[in-house]
Subunit: 97 residues, 4 copies
């Protein structure tokens, strides 16, 4: 997991706890979709709606972590002298979608 | 779950099985992120990368279900006479993002 | 432009006119951003906001055309017997983002 | 345009020039779609493909401006003491989609 990681920068405990709570709920949501998918009368669009809802919830967890990263690590990159790496990895992770 | 559902249209068994397999793997991935989040040396960008990976995997499940819905239900809507409902709910579910 | 095109299916005149009106406004918006970019006191985030606004406007044009395509061509694919091609090209065009 | 703007931060001349070049090409692309839309034999999916292509090109301009903003303004926010504003406006502008 440590590839390309800027040494010594960690996700703060509060954000980790919040992200964990949300991901536990997301895991429950995925389990709910797994149960829906056992039902042979399931309508496609109902499955699609649930998948989109999980993606929306993941967007929110991602937003939490991103905000914490910006606030704790990105705005101080010039001070640490690792601007190039911080910017490159941020552009990379924002690229998806 | 049946709100707005077009009566009698079901997700086919093969697609349900494939979607289940992928969602089981996604559930495992979410559990992996939950474990990562227990580690106080976790780097934000590593968490973000894993969240994006799960979203990519969910996109693929959504694509499977969408393709099945198009092929089995949307292209036959004119025959059944439920074009307006089929189009409205599809536009709705494609809107997210 | 006709590569992969299903023969004889055309975008209806009303949707073409609506899409044209919206695209003329989008063109004006792009010209506005071009003028903004001549100003050496331009703030990055103001440029980003305008770019996002144009993307939102393009999403709406795309939605217009997609709805028309679904209603006029996709729901009748089973009747015409070109389901495979209609589904494949629709999945392709929905894939971006 | 200046609402919410962090005083004294400007998009650098090189990025402005690059963004202008790309936006001129995007304007030409939009004009091309406007001409396509005059053709009553236009196929919906061909219009959708062109709209997606313009959105992809806009994504690239947005990426240019974002990278410049991160490198020149965000990584120095702690030094300037405007972290809260920089992070808030960045989260806002990344939210679309």
């Amino acid at each position: 997991m440590n590839d390309g990681c800027v040494a010594g920068l960690h996700l703060d405990a509060g954000t980790r706890a919040q992200a964990r709570r949300r991901l536990l709920s997301i895991k429950g949501h995925v389990e709910g979709i797994l149960r829906m998918l056992e039902d042979d009368s399931l309508y496609c669009v109902d499955a699609l709606k649930q998948i989109k809802a999980v993606q929306g919830a993941l967007d929110k967890v991602g937003g939490l972590v991103l905000r914490s990263h910006l606030r704790d690590h990105v705005v101080t990159a010039a001070d640490r002298g690792d601007t190039d790496q911080i910017v490159a990895e941020l552009m990379e992770v924002l690229k998806y979608r």
